[in-house]
Amino acid sequence: MNTMDSLERELLVLICRTCNLQDVDMDRIKLNDPLIGPDSPLGIDSLDALEIAVTVQQEYGVRLNSEQTSRVVLQTLATLADHIRNHRQQG
């Protein structure tokens, strides 16, 4: 079951817009699907990840400073949303 909160949904839309993904069936994307790499249903790679990191910083004021942070945070929509919730106030 796909129980996506509004932030997760918002992030999915943002990612699709940033990476110019036009034929994604958003209702089929699950919270814990891999976001980046060959198993990602969105088919996005490390170059796309970079643009997502920049866009997240611009839109939410949350930085992804290191590869470690990015690797962990950009695992799934759920981890990205959690990171933003936890760091938004500090941004």
């Binding site: 970079l50 400073n65 290191s66």
Partner: protein
């Protein structure tokens, strides 16, 4: 029940600084990865069009492989044992002997042959560092700093990774700290780490290195579409971004890590100038990331108004200007 040795594994942003920090922590000295990166003079820039990787020019945003380890081996109280081998069996035998003596061992390996890497992430890079801290049966216990937790690797696979062939072939290279100081005070080494990076970034007469190298790349990059044609220009551009090695940070990661080192140093020395330089380097890192994001849009053919090779070259020149300003300030401070 079989005894399983433990190791203070901590995931890191960069394998060499991560391995050095983990090996030192195992000796009872608390040190962050950023501190190991800074004292080890890890930050650099070089553009070498005459060295080709997959037919594309070498761009590097960090110091040469092995520099951080070498730098620590020169510090008072640190004794680093290093060996390379011609013979695979001898190399594995020596690894077992050093492990039996109770020392975790750093290894240089080829990523392509490490089976615990997801297949999609295995590429031909022969300067990947990891720590082996034990052996159970035919499996080695491995602290690979790019993984969140320790992993296992079968002996034949590890042997193959230690003797991968090609550029930067590891030739079985292994190293471990045979001695470390009882108490290690970072403070005397902060200034020399900063000085070393400033010299590399500002002091080279060679125009392909440091801030001059960033400007040289800018000059080359803006001519790529005319010189190489659209397709090859995109290949070159994608390569520049991929060589930045950082998922989601666009190579700015090394700038951010050195900035973290400066911040830690500022706190240790109570030095506002280092704090300000840290903030300025973060700003330079953000600009690198903007460069990488625009380059990605061009490579992926989703450009926005204003995206162009000329704009990219302008961003690179701004990165060079900002970094030059930071390192000139730091250089005056470090003396």
């Amino acid at each position: 029940m079989e005894y399983e040795p433990t190791f203070p594994h901590r995931q890191s942003a960069h394998c060499e600084s991560g391995v050095v920090a983990n090996l030192i922590r195992q000796r009872g000295i608390e040190i962050s990865e950023a501190m190991a990166f800074g004292i080890g003079r890890g930050l650099f820039f070089g553009y070498f069009p005459f060295i080709r990787i997959n037919g594309l020019p070498l761009v590097t945003y960090r110091s040469v492989a092995g520099q951080i380890i070498r730098q620590f081996s020169r510090l008072p109280g640190f004794t680093l044992q290093r060996q390379t081998f011609r013979d695979r069996d001898r190399a594995m035998g020596e690894l077992d002997a050093v492990l039996a003596a109770g020392h975790p061992v750093g290894l240089q390996t080829g990523v392509f042959w490490l089976p615990y890497f997801p297949r999609a992430l295995r590429f031909h890079f022969n300067a990947h560092n990891l720590v082996v801290y034990g052996k159970q049966g035919e499996d080695y216990l491995v602290s690979d700093p790019v993984f969140p937790a320790p992993v296992r690797c079968a002996a034949p696979d590890l042997a193959r990774a230690r003797f991968a062939s090609g550029a930067l072939a590891p030739r079985g290279k292994m190293y471990y700290f045979a001695a470390t100081p009882e108490h290690f005070d970072c403070r005397p080494h902060l200034r020399s780490g900063i000085r070393g990076v400033c010299r590399a970034m500002l002091g080279s007469r060679f125009p392909l290195i440091g801030t001059r190298g960033i400007r040289f790349l800018a000059g080359r990059l803006e001519r790529w579409p005319a010189r190489l044609g659209r397709e090859r220009a995109i290949l070159h551009l994608g390569h520049v971004v991929r060589m930045q090695e950082e998922i989601g940070t666009g190579g700015a990661g090394f700038r951010f890590m050195f900035a973290a080192f400066l911040q830690e140093s500022a706190e240790m020395l109570r030095e506002q100038l280092l704090q300000d330089s840290s903030a300025a380097l973060v700003a330079a890192g953000d600009l690198w990331r903007d460069f990488a994001a625009m380059a990605t849009r061009i490579c992926k053919e989703r450009t926005r108004p204003g995206d162009s090779y000329d704009e990219l070259a302008g961003l690179l020149r701004s990165c060079a200007d900002r970094e030059e300003s930071v390192f000139r300030t730091l250089n005056r401070w470090a003396g």
